[in-house]
């Protein structure tokens, strides 16, 4: 059942990512059109629970989605199986989560 649970986790994380990607693109276009400076953008994101949850949620969804996808690619391209394969996937998940989490904290912490 592990394969099926990973399949569902990857689809559900995609469902979460889709609207967040659209939101992110819309915000980027808005920021560029309005001519906001980096300082002005940080002024709006720092201390904002909304943006912390928006990008925090995106980072979690990406970490889950990408780790499962790469686990499949690695299993088909190499002989890695079982615990080693899951270990590599968990390492990818943790790396993306930590790197993304740090970025979110950097722009949302006061």
């Amino acid at each position: 059942m592990l394969d099926f649970r990973l399949y569902m986790a990857q689809r559900l994380s995609a469902l979460i990512m889709a609207p967040l990607v659209v939101g992110h693109l819309a915000v980027m276009i808005y920021a560029v059109q309005g001519g906001l400076s980096a300082g002005e953008i940080l002024g709006r994101t720092q201390g904002s629970l909304f943006w912390a949850l928006f990008y925090g949620g995106f980072v979690v969804a990406v970490s889950v989605h990408a780790a499962i996808g790469l686990r499949t690619v690695i299993s088909e391209w190499t002989r890695l199986r079982g615990g080693m394969l899951n270990g590599v996937a968990m390492a990818i998940f943790a790396t993306l989560l930590v790197m993304g989490g740090r970025a979110v904290l950097a722009v949302t912490l006061v």
Binding site: M1, D3, F4, Y7, R11, T72, S75, E76
Partner: protein, 252 residues
């Protein structure tokens, strides 16, 4: 794709054809070229038969019905899986040459004959075997052809087990545990058959490691199926059914 007139035109385009045949066994092999006379309405299976009868009686291959019903004679023709008994030479010959090799993704026994055991073992693993819902003393089950589930089942029952889809599948090539299109399509037809009593067991089997969720929907199975079936659609049906059950039960 050539139409019938074009095939007739190319039928006598040359007096002979250069046929590269893969010769070997599980430990490896090499290509051997034969010059085979061209004949009207010649099929790829005719070529293989001619080589064995006229040039080299040690050539090993498998066939039975010769009319596209038994699923025995599938081989790689110009690197593509085909049922050789229903493949006209005129459709596949390129510059007067053809290559013929054993089916991909299966162990070779000798020359053009592959070991089909892994293919059929996976049918059993996918629970693609009938689980009767009634005994011999019960009435006949009423099977309505227009019933929505029956239409789904009927769409896949003409599979002749030729393994062309299995040979075409890149997911099978990358993941030896993957059950493959034919076994999963058979599981889908049984899941939709009102006379099968093990829908839950089928969904459990196809949700296990190497099940339907390993499919990347590349579609080679549907593209190459000689009977124009749609195994990729059947696998998508299994994915939908398992996902629906997940949301209904709140678990896998």
């Amino acid at each position: 794709m050539l139409d019938d007139a074009s095939i007739a035109e190319t039928d006598h385009a040359a007096d002979s054809i250069a046929v590269s045949v893969w010769r070997g066994d599980a430990s490896g092999g090499t290509w051997e070229t034969f010059t085979v006379p061209r004949q009207p309405s010649q099929t790829v299976l005719d070529i293989v038969t001619w080589i064995q009868q006229e040039a080299d009686p040690t050539l090993t291959y498998r066939f039975a019905c010769r009319v596209g019903m038994c699923g025995s004679c599938a081989m790689m023709v110009n690197d593509e899986p085909r049922w050789t008994c229903r493949t006209h030479v005129g459709r596949v010959v390129k510059d007067g040459a053809i290559s013929i090799a054993p089916l991909r993704n299966l162990p070779v026994i000798k020359d053009l004959a592959t070991d089909m055991d892994p293919f059929f073992d996976k049918w059993v693993k996918a629970e693609a075997t009938h689980h009767p819902s009634a005994g011999r003393h019960d009435d006949f089950a009423a099977v309505l052809p227009d019933d929505e589930q029956r239409v789904e089942a009927s769409a896949g029952i003409e599979c002749i087990n030729c393994a062309v889809c299995y040979a075409a599948c890149d997911t099978v090539a990358g993941n030896p545990d993957y059950l493959g299109p034919a076994a999963l399509q058979r599981a889908w037809t049984l899941y939709n058959d009102s006379r099968d009593d093990a829908g839950g067991a089928i969904l459990d089997a196809v949700s296990a490691q190497g099940g339907c969720h390993s499919c990347h929907s590349m579609g080679s199975c549907t593209h190459y199926c000689p009977n124009d079936l749609d195994p990729m659609g059947a696998i998508a049906g299994l994915k939908r059914a398992t996902a629906k059950r997940f949301f209904r039960r709140g678990r896998g």
